[in-house]
């Protein structure tokens, strides 16, 4: 089997002795055109892996920033099909940067699991992170996704104890996403030390790379995480930068630049931390 884009990306970063920068953006926010521009430009400013958020009406694991972005995208007519089209458009010019769709199960369930997986593979999707599908529900989407050669990236959390970890890791692929806290996206990390301990613990159970997300707000936070994790995920902070660039809720000339500049800063901060 040939190496997946996700594997290659983590390998490239490891070869350069640095952590990977994983950037999250909400598909269709603040509008489809701006969102596509943001997406297309992410690799150039230093994003190694892209998480593209699929908006959902009831994002229970997300804080107010990502929730509001998703609602705004939906209000502007965004849907699952348009998210897939964004990926296909991105792939026209980029065959190497992995794209992971992140979201909740219901829109996929309603789209039709098989139909969705076929369309996602065709569009160039590499992996899925579905918040409300724990390993107990693997038959719903995780196992079908693996059959379609799409990675199913599992979240592990501070409540995932050593006994449960093997269950969670069982059908994980691509990488392991460690949620830095018991909380929602956009909250603050209280202890970097305990995050570091947890990453060590996970790495003793798997050869997959471990990325850390939730609560990483600044270049300084990113650098701290980059010291011990294989990947650093930033989401709410990027959406916030985009939000701050809007005028009367609409994108301005500076919107795409605002978020790309922040990604550039995060990338430099992470690259400066040599492994």
């Amino acid at each position: 089997m040939t190496k997946s884009r996700i594997e290659k990306s983590f390998k490239k970063c490891a070869d350069n002795n640095r952590a990977a920068l994983v950037t999250f953006i909400t598909a269709g926010y603040p509008d489809l055109k701006t969102s596509q521009k943001v997406l297309n430009g992410l690799p150039k400013v230093g994003a190694d892996i892209i998480e593209l958020g699929m908006p959902f009406s009831d994002p229970m694991a997300d804080g107010p920033t990502i929730e509001a972005a998703g609602h705004k995208a939906l209000a502007a007519g965004h849907n699952t099909l348009k998210t897939l089209e964004m990926v296909a458009n991105f792939r026209k010019n980029d065959q190497t940067t992995p794209i992971i769709l992140m979201g909740y199960y219901n829109p996929i369930y309603i789209f039709g699991v098989e139909k969705f997986l076929i369309a996602a593979k065709k569009a160039g999707v590499d992996g899925l992170i579905i918040v409300d599908l724990p390993s107990e529900e693997d038959e719903e989407l995780c196992l079908p996704a693996l059959k379609h050669d799409i990675n199913f990236i599992r979240l592990t959390t501070p409540t995932t104890d050593e006994k449960r970890l093997p269950t969670v890791l069982k059908n994980s692929s691509g990488f392991v996403y460690y949620v830095s806290m018991t909380g929602i996206t956009g909250s603050a990390i209280s202890s970097f030390d305990s995050v570091s301990d947890a990453v060590k613990e996970i790495k003793s159970h798997t050869d997959l790379p471990v990325a850390v997300g939730f609560g990483i707000k600044s270049a300084k936070d990113a650098a701290q995480i980059a010291a011990f994790a294989d990947g650093v995920v930033v989401g709410s902070a990027l959406i916030k930068a985009l939000e701050n660039s809007l005028e009367n809720g609409k994108a301005t000339d500076s919107s795409v630049i605002a978020i790309h500049n922040l990604v550039g800063d995060l990338a430099s901060a992470i690259a400066a931390v040599k492994k």
Binding site: D58, N106, I110, E137, P158, T159, T160
Partner: protein
């Protein structure tokens, strides 16, 4: 189903919390260890006589159980059909069936060593019942309530505050029950160590639907005994309103295998089932999907985005329903039908004038269904309404709809 002993409808859910295709455990990993712990704690409690005794004592001495079975003589005469009975859950302490579940769960929370209770509420009946048991057991309590509901259920909000609860208005979405539940889940995920989430309806991830059903089944168990004693037979029909469906599953469950007993669930038909996003009848007007930890019938659009729904009754204003109801709909055991706001308002007034009982607007939906079917039944037949809550909290809403300034 010839061999009903082995094909009992009461056997659901399976070990994965599935009622047929419905139910399950669709939660974030952070919560997964918690609901597994809850499941084993509940199993242990169920088999512990000390726990059961304490619950029975509270049910009788604190709540006032058993709730009476009342023959509604004037309503029966007025409708001219089946004999109508009310199972008087509105006479329970706190004014609704909600306390049955709250007592069961707070004893469980105590056993599990949890020190903080959170809950969601729509009409405020569950919020009041939760705040009540938290006062009784001295535990701090945070109630999430949609901002719209906070406004339309002001008396219940004040009751909760008097009882010592913190009421957090949730302004996301339409500010109703769904949004309150999202916010409660966010709180739980952020405070996993000390917090117990006391879900009020028979929905959410396994084991909640089963646990809530078990605590509410006391309604149906009592009814069975009371009815046999009074009428020397089982009722021909049982009617209950359905929001999430906890009072309904509580009264239905002990009768699921008695196929001669017809079961009716009254959903919130709002402005009419044909009005887009104008009702909250998830089974009549929705399709299966996944939300709040379970697969069930949901009001949603073609993209799988959840709709807000509408009902005059804040307690029925929820786009989903407990997974066991979805299962019972698909196997055809229960008939679910929508009741409009207007029909519920009429039933509310009829009950008040003829029986001297002010029902909750939720229960008035059930009564409207009784008013539809009782006249088509014979005088020898019997029908029982689960009068799940009292309507004091709704007087202002009803006044508004009747054009009366209070």
């Amino acid at each position: 189903m010839e061999n009903s002993q082995f094909n009992s409808l009461k056997n659901a859910p399976d070990e994965n919390g599935r009622f047929g295709m419905f139910g399950g455990r669709f939660v974030a990993e952070t919560l997964m260890p918690l609901i597994l712990e809850l499941e084993s704690a509940y199993e242990a409690a169920k088999n512990d006589p000390a726990y059961q005794n304490e619950l029975e004592n509270l049910n009788s001495d604190y709540t006032g159980r058993p709730s009476p079975l009342y023959f509604a003589e004037r309503l029966t005469k007025e409708l001219g059909g089946a004999k109508i009975f009310f199972k008087r859950e509105e006479l329970n302490h706190t004014g609704s069936h909600k306390v049955n579940n709250c007592l069961g769960q707070i004893l469980l929370a105590k056993r599990m060593g949890r020190t903080r209770i959170i809950a969601e509420t729509g009409a405020g009946q569950h919020g009041v019942a939760t705040a009540t048991v938290c006062a009784r057991f001295g535990l701090p309590c945070v109630i999430y309530m949609g901002a719209t509901d906070v406004e339309r259920q002001a008396p219940n909000v004040f009751r909760m505050k008097l009882l010592g609860a913190e009421v957090v208005p949730v302004s996301a979405g339409a500010g109703t029950l769904k949004d309150a539940m999202n916010e409660a889940l966010r709180d739980w995920v952020s405070n996993v160590k000390d917090t117990y989430y006391l879900i009020g309806t028979a929905a959410g991830p396994h084991p909640y639907p089963t646990m809530v059903r078990d605590f509410q089944s006391i309604i149906g168990k009592e009814l069975r005994e009371q009815f046999l004693a009074k009428e020397n037979k089982l009722p021909d029909a049982i009617v209950a309103c359905i929001g999430g469906g906890s009072n309904a599953i509580g009264i239905f469950h002990p009768f699921l295998d008695d196929k001669q007993v017809k079961l009716y669930g009254a959903e919130a038909g709002g402005l009419g089932i044909e009005v887009e996003n104008g009702h909250a009848a998830s089974m009549t007007g929705g399709k299966p999907g996944v939300l709040h930890g379970n697969r069930t019938y949901l009001l949603q659009n073609d993209d799988g985005q959840i709709l807000e729904g509408h009902s005059i009754s804040a307690g029925l204003d929820y786009p989903g329903v407990g997974p066991e109801h979805s299962f019972l709909k698909d196997v055809g055991r229960v008939t679910y039908a929508p009741i409009t706001d207007k029909e519920a308002l009429e039933a509310f007034q009829i009950c008040t004038r003829l029986e001297g009982i002010i029902p909750a607007l939720e229960s008035a939906h059930g009564l409207a269904q009784v008013i539809k079917i009782a006249p088509m039944m014979t005088k020898e037949q019997t029908i029982v309404l689960n009068l799940s809550g009292r309507g004091d909290k709704d007087v202002e809403t009803v006044g508004k709809h009747l054009g009366v300034e209070l």
